[in-house]
Symmetry: C2
């Protein structure tokens, strides 16, 4: 029987969480406070006392968690532990009862591992676009999911009903929105907006520490430097793992970024006014997009909604094209209709 | 007669402000609220009504402002207007009564212009390490000076007493701290922590808008992308001007950054685990430095102060070495002694 949240919203799921770190812990707390039934297992028991106090049912072993047959089992463990965890889950999980998903920032690799474990059919990829430079249960904070957008990902084996199921958890349990795209598109986009920038940010602090006047530079650093290097303060091992998991996409983007910087350096050397001007104006559609979001958030611009019809035969391309049009799904209104918030394209 | 601030702190100066934009406006409001006598001129009169209401004396012309003989005249105008403004000031300013300073982010170029106008002797370079992506009087906010650090800069013509005078305005009028360095060191450090990163941030948004899946990428973008591209939302003309003013230093750093990114891309291609690990650990001293600052701000680490003795004969190197040791001057305790906050070096 589904749990009922305090505000009367029906939480559609019993959710199992593997790993109570920054993301898993925050997710567990948020879903629990929305009234969902939440079970969890963590490789060390230190979060259990606090977690149990707010009604999260903590299991002694991963096996026990899977045997409890949650509607959705969310893998929030580090990627390095994934193969072993999948091997443990494989013989116990009942695909008829449980849908498997995860929160990893690289989808292709997780899919391969799930496929290798032979449990692809019950799997839906998921990536919440949130997080911060902290980690672990002590950093868990349900607020990191405020207004978060999720990417759900599919391949040719994915079952449509499982997408709708995980989407329900996101829109109803978390009050978040989502897009649905294929793994490859996700991993390329994620390398652009997160993995490659993490490398750039790290290169910036390396540039500083290599400078003979590094202490003066560090003293003078203010807002722009602080913001651009914040993600380089993240646990370097975690960043490294994330980048290596998506290394092919990151490599391509780093070379393109290096070319952009070199071309601009050439323009400065040559005092090429036209090239310099072009460099500073070519991203204007993105600035306009951000201004639109700011206007929406301040209530100056009305939010535009659209109804998305998802055809049973070609739901993959329906979702993908919707995402490309700048639409965020806010809820499913029926099995094949969704309400989406529409933003201007860039 | 010096004005007395509400809290009883003596504001040592009558300050003239040229230009009531983001920095000049914020500075005028903050100094006024600290009890300083503040006069101002702006090339357009639209800020005058609000400014006058809080006791800022607004002058109809730049000439009138200079003729009022403020103790310190602070040029907060855009750099493009600097030659004309200096030409206007030159025949009127009384160097015996008024010290000239500015707030520009590039010191070498302003010094050249001041030198060309023949008023080097009364000039001290200054650069408050603050600001944001907004601009103009409507964006002015005295809070941008909370805990700000200033760089004061000198060349071989600078008079020591004027350094102490402007420093007094910063430490007593603004409750800010400062370091004192030469123009070249400043401009190299500023290009590292601000001008070059502005170019990198702009290159990131250009990379996104050039991507076929740019809308999906924009949808998925979250905290790391937002922080790393915030400064690229700045008025591109202002950023462009700032970068071009310091083009030689920026060019060198961009080529070094491009090399770093390319080398790391090579390491990813070659799966060179050692090189990848080195890349993610070489900036560790900076992470430790940031942790130190966080501990200090949360009160976990005590602030360490040191007394700096400045010798009349070699004050330039005394200040420069102090800055290199990671010391921020918080106040002058006598004409040749300063109290400085000491931070660990990186």
């Amino acid at each position: 029987m589904p749990a009922i949240a305090a505000d009367g919203i029906e939480c559609p799921q019993h959710v199992g969480i593997v790993g109570l770190g920054l993301i898993g812990g925050s997710l567990a707390v948020r879903l629990r406070s929305a009234g969902c039934a939440v079970s969890a297992w963590n490789h060390r028991a230190h979060p259990y006392e606090t977690a149990a106090r707010i009604g999260i049912e903590c299991k002694d072993t991963l096996e026990e968690l899977v045997e409890a047959q949650p509607d959705v089992l969310v893998l929030c463990n580090p990627l390095v532990a994934m193969p072993k965890i999948l091997q443990t889950i494989k013989p116990i999980i009942d695909p008829a009862r449980t849908t498997l998903t995860d929160v990893g920032s690289v989808k292709g690799l997780v899919r391969e591992q799930v496929h290798a474990a032979g449990i692809t059919d019950c799997y839906v990829g998921a990536h919440p676009m949130t997080g911060n430079e902290r980690s672990g249960w002590t950093a868990a904070n349900p607020g990191i999911f405020d207004n978060a957008l999720w990417a759900l990902t599919y391949d040719e084996h994915t079952e449509y009903r499982r997408i709708v199921q995980v989407a329900g958890l996101i829109t109803r349990g978390l009050q978040n929105s989502l897009i649905v795209i294929d793994d490859e598109t996700h991993d390329r986009a994620a390398s652009l907006i997160s993995h490659m920038p993490h490398v750039v940010s790290t290169a910036l602090i390396n540039q500083m520490t290599a400078d003979p006047d590094r202490n003066i530079a560090a003293e003078l650093s203010a807002g722009s430097w602080r913001d651009m290097t914040r993600v380089a303060l993240t646990d370097p091992d975690r960043t490294c793992a994330m980048v290596v998991e998506n290394s092919q996409n990151v490599e391509v983007l780093l070379r393109q970024m290096a070319s952009r910087l070199t071309e601009f350096a050439d323009a400065l050397r040559d005092d090429d006014v036209a090239a310099i001007h072009r460099f500073f104006t070519e991203g204007q559609t993105y600035r306009d997009f951000k201004q639109h979001l700011a206007n929406r958030n301040s209530g100056e611009t009305e939010t535009v909604f659209t109804t998305l019809r998802i055809h049973p035969e070609h739901w993959r391309s329906d979702f993908l094209e919707s995402a490309k049009r700048g639409e965020y799904i806010v809820r499913f209104t029926s099995g094949h209709h969704a309400l989406a918030e529409r933003h201007p394209t860039i």
